[in-house]
C-alpha cells in the first residue's frame, strides 16, 4: 500500500495533467440491509477541476463520498482511480493514495490543539521509527520540525495563526471548519473531498471559505469534490455539478446547464415521483 507514498513531499501525486480523468465511478450501488442508499451511479472527476455533488437531504451525497474514500464498500460497481480499477480498499489506503476529506459534522480531534490537529495530516509523510520517536532527537526532531514548517505555511495560508495552540474543542464552529480544511490540506492530497464545507456559516465566513477553496484549487492544483447546499456557492465555485436524488443521478454537467434541468428543479421543489 505504500507504493504511492513519496516520503519527501508531494506524496501521492500521479503526474496526471489537468483535464485527465482522475477518478471514475461506474454503476455503483450501495445498500444497508434492505435500504438502498445509492443506486447505479456513474460519474467522473477530472484532474484539477472543482466538482460539486448536490441534491436534497438523503440523496446519498455523503454516502457517495464515503464510497470514494473507502469507508463504505459498494455492493456493485467499480471505482477507477488514476486509471486503475480499485477493488475493496480500506480508508487508510485511500488516504495514502492522496484522497483527503473534511466532514459534514466537524470531525476534528477534540482533545488536541489546532497545531496538533493539522500535524496529524502530516502523519503519512513522517516515517522516522519508533526509537527515534522515543528520543525525540536527531532525525526524529528534524522530521518533526520540517513538517512543522509545512504546517505553519498552511496555518498562514488559512489565517489561523492566533489559534495555533488552542484546543480545537474551544473554537467556534466556523474556525473548526477552517482547521479541518487545514488538516486535510496538510495531507497535500491529490483529491480533496469537502462535505458541506460551509454548513452553519455566516455570510462572511462563507466568503472566506469560498476564497480558500478557490485558492487551494488554483494555487496547489488540487482537485476538489464538494457537497454543498448553498446553490450560490456551488454555482460560483464549481466547474461541473452532479445532482443526486433518492440515491440516483438525475443530472450531470456545467452549473448553468444543471440549473435549468427540469428534473433538478422538481427534485428541489419536491414534485412527487
Amino acid at each position: 500500500m505504500n507504493a504511492f507514498v513519496d516520503p519527501v513531499g508531494m506524496a501521492g501525486h500521479s503526474g496526471l495533467t489537468k483535464g485527465e480523468v482522475l477518478l471514475r465511478v461506474d454503476n455503483v450501488s450501495l445498500s444497508f440491509g434492505g435500504v438502498k442508499a445509492i443506486t447505479n451511479i456513474s460519474f467522473d472527476i477530472l484532474k484539477g477541476e472543482v466538482r460539486a455533488i448536490i441534491g436534497p437531504n438523503g440523496a446519498g451525497k455523503t454516502s457517495m463520498l464515503n464510497v470514494i474514500n473507502g469507508f463504505y464498500h459498494p455492493q456493485e460497481g467499480t471505482i477507477t482511480w488514476r486509471g486503475q480499477v480499485r477493488r475493496k480498499m480500506r480508508p487508510y489506503e485511500a488516504a495514502s493514495h492522496g484522497i483527503a476529506r473534511t466532514f459534514q459534522n466537524v470531525a476534528l480531534f477534540k482533545g488536541m490543539t489546532t497545531l496538533d490537529n493539522i500535524m496529524t495530516g502530516r502523519g503519512l509523510k513522517m516515517n522516522k521509527n519508533f526509537f527515534w520517536q522515543c528520543l525525540h532527537w536527531g532525525p526524529a526532531l528534524n522530521e518533526e520540525i520540517e513538517h512543522r514548517r509545512k504546517v505553519e505555511e498552511i496555518i498562514d495560508f488559512l489565517e489561523i495563526q492566533a489559534i495555533r495552540k488552542t484546543p480545537v474543542g474551544r473554537l467556534p464552529y466556523g474556525l473548526q471548519k477552517r482547521v479541518e480544511l487545514a488538516r486535510a490540506l496538510a495531507m497535500e492530497p491529490e483529491l480533496l473531498l469537502l462535505d458541506e464545507p460551509m454548513a452553519g456559516m455566516n455570510l462572511e465566513e462563507k466568503e472566506d471559505m469560498s476564497r480558500f477553496i478557490l485558492d487551494v484549487n488554483q494555487q496547489f492544483g488540487t482537485t476538489i469534490a464538494l457537497i454543498e447546499h448553498d446553490m450560490g456557492v456551488v454555482m460560483d465555485l464549481s466547474d461541473r455539478v452532479v445532482v443526486l436524488d433518492y440515491g440516483r443521478k438525475i443530472a450531470d454537467g456545467p452549473p448553468e446547464e444543471v440549473q435549468s434541468n427540469q428534473d433538478v428543479i422538481d427534485a428541489y421543489l419536491g414534485v412527487p415521483h
Partner: protein
C-alpha cells in the same frame, strides 16, 4: 490423541453416562445463572435510564443483605427488617441521585463509571463501620423462605437434588422480571423511564423530571440488589466477599447487551450454565478452577462475532 479424546469425546460420554448428574449440573448452572441475571438486571435498570454503568451494584447487594440481617440481629422482627431494608435502599437511592448523579449529569460515561467505583469504596467503608466485617448468616427461614430440599431418584444410583431456596430464587427472579416488564410498559413512570433512556434532553423537554426518575431507578436497582443479597446470602452467607461475585455480572452484560432486560436473563443463563458445564466436564483437563475466567472468555469470543451483543442491533457506523 488421548488429549483430543479427553477434549472432544470423553466429556460427552460422561454426560450420557450420568444423565442425572448432567441434569444436576444444568440445574446448578441455571440457579447460578438466575443469580447472575439478577445482579445484571440491577446494572441494566440503571444503564437503561441514565447511561451509567453502575459498578456499585455488587456492593449494593452486600449492603442490602447486611442491612436486613444486621437489623434482624438488633432484634427487629424479620418482616419489619425487610421493610426497613427496603427503606434503607430508598434512602440510598435518593442520596445517590442527589449527591452523585445530579452534580455529574452530562459527564462522559467513564466519569460516571468512576463515580460509581468511588461509591463502592464509600459503601464498603460505611458498611463495615456500621455492620462490622464479619460475615452474617442470612435469615432464610425467618423470612419465610423454604430451606429444605427435594431429591428425585433417577435410575439405580441417580439422584437429582433440588434445593427449595434455589427454586424460590428462580421464582422470585421471574416475578421480578415480570414485575419490571409491567412497570416499564404499563405505568406512567415506566413510560417516562423509557423516554429518558432514549433521550435525556427530549425527556426533559416534555416535562419529565430526570431527578425523580433517577431516584426511582436507583431504588428499583436497590430492590433487585436486596433480592439478590437474600438469595445469594442464603447460598453462602452475607459478607463483603460477595461483592466480588458481582463481577460475574459483567460478562453477562456484554452477552445480553447493557440495555436489554431479557438479554440480562438469557445472558445470565448462558453464562451460568456454560461455565458450570465447562468447569465440570472440561475444567479438570487443566487442573480445574477455570470458572474464574471462563465466563469472560465465553463473552469475549461471543463479542468477536457479534460486537453488538445478543439483543443489540447491528451497528452501522456513520460519519
Amino acid at each position: 490423541m488421548d488429549m483430543l479424546y479427553n477434549i472432544l469425546i470423553d466429556p460427552f460420554v460422561q454426560m450420557v453416562d450420568a444423565p442425572d448428574f448432567l441434569i444436576q449440573v444444568v440445574w446448578e448452572g441455571f440457579v447460578a445463572g438466575v443469580l447472575y441475571a439478577l445482579i445484571a438486571l440491577g446494572f441494566v435498570l440503571i444503564y437503561k435510564a441514565s447511561g451509567v454503568f453502575n459498578f456499585a451494584q455488587g456492593i449494593m447487594v452486600v449492603f442490602a443483605g447486611l442491612s436486613l440481617v444486621g437489623l434482624h440481629e438488633k432484634g427487629v422482627p424479620a418482616w419489619l427488617a425487610l421493610i426497613l431494608a427496603i427503606g434503607i435502599m430508598a434512602i440510598l437511592a435518593v442520596c445517590i441521585e442527589k449527591f452523585v448523579m445530579r452534580p455529574l449529569v452530562g459527564q462522559p460515561d467513564i466519569i460516571l463509571l468512576m463515580a460509581t467505583i468511588g461509591m463502592t469504596y464509600f459503601l464498603i467503608g460505611l458498611g463495615e463501620v456500621i455492620f462490622g466485617g464479619e460475615p452474617k448468616q442470612m435469615i432464610t427461614s425467618e423470612l419465610g423462605l423454604p430451606t429444605g430440599s427435594t431429591a428425585f431418584e433417577m435410575g439405580e444410583r441417580g439422584l437429582v437434588i433440588l434445593q427449595h431456596i434455589d427454586i424460590a430464587a428462580a421464582v422470585i427472579a421471574l416475578l421480578m422480571v415480570g414485575g419490571l416488564a409491567v412497570f416499564f410498559n404499563r405505568t406512567r413512570i415506566g413510560r417516562a423511564l423509557r423516554a429518558v433512556a432514549d433521550d435525556h434532553t427530549a425527556a426533559l423537554s416534555v416535562g419529565i423530571s430526570l431527578n425523580q426518575i433517577w431516584a426511582i431507578v436507583w431504588f428499583a436497582a436497590g430492590i433487585v440488589a436486596l433480592a439478590t443479597g437474600i438469595m445469594w446470602g442464603a447460598r453462602s452467607d452475607v459478607s463483603f466477599a460477595l461483592e466480588i461475585v458481582a463481577l460475574k455480572a459483567l460478562p453477562v452484560l456484554i452477552l445480553g447487551g447493557f440495555t436489554s432486560i431479557p438479554g440480562a436473563i438469557i445472558g445470565g443463563l448462558i453464562i451460568g450454565i456454560g461455565e458450570k458445564i465447562g468447569e465440570i466436564y472440561w475444567g479438570s483437563l487443566v487442573g480445574g478452577g477455570i470458572e474464574s475466567w471462563l465466563a469472560y472468555v465465553i463473552a469475549l469470543i461471543f463479542l468477536l462475532f457479534r460486537p453488538q451483543g445478543l439483543f443489540g442491533e447491528k451497528i452501522i457506523e456513520r460519519i
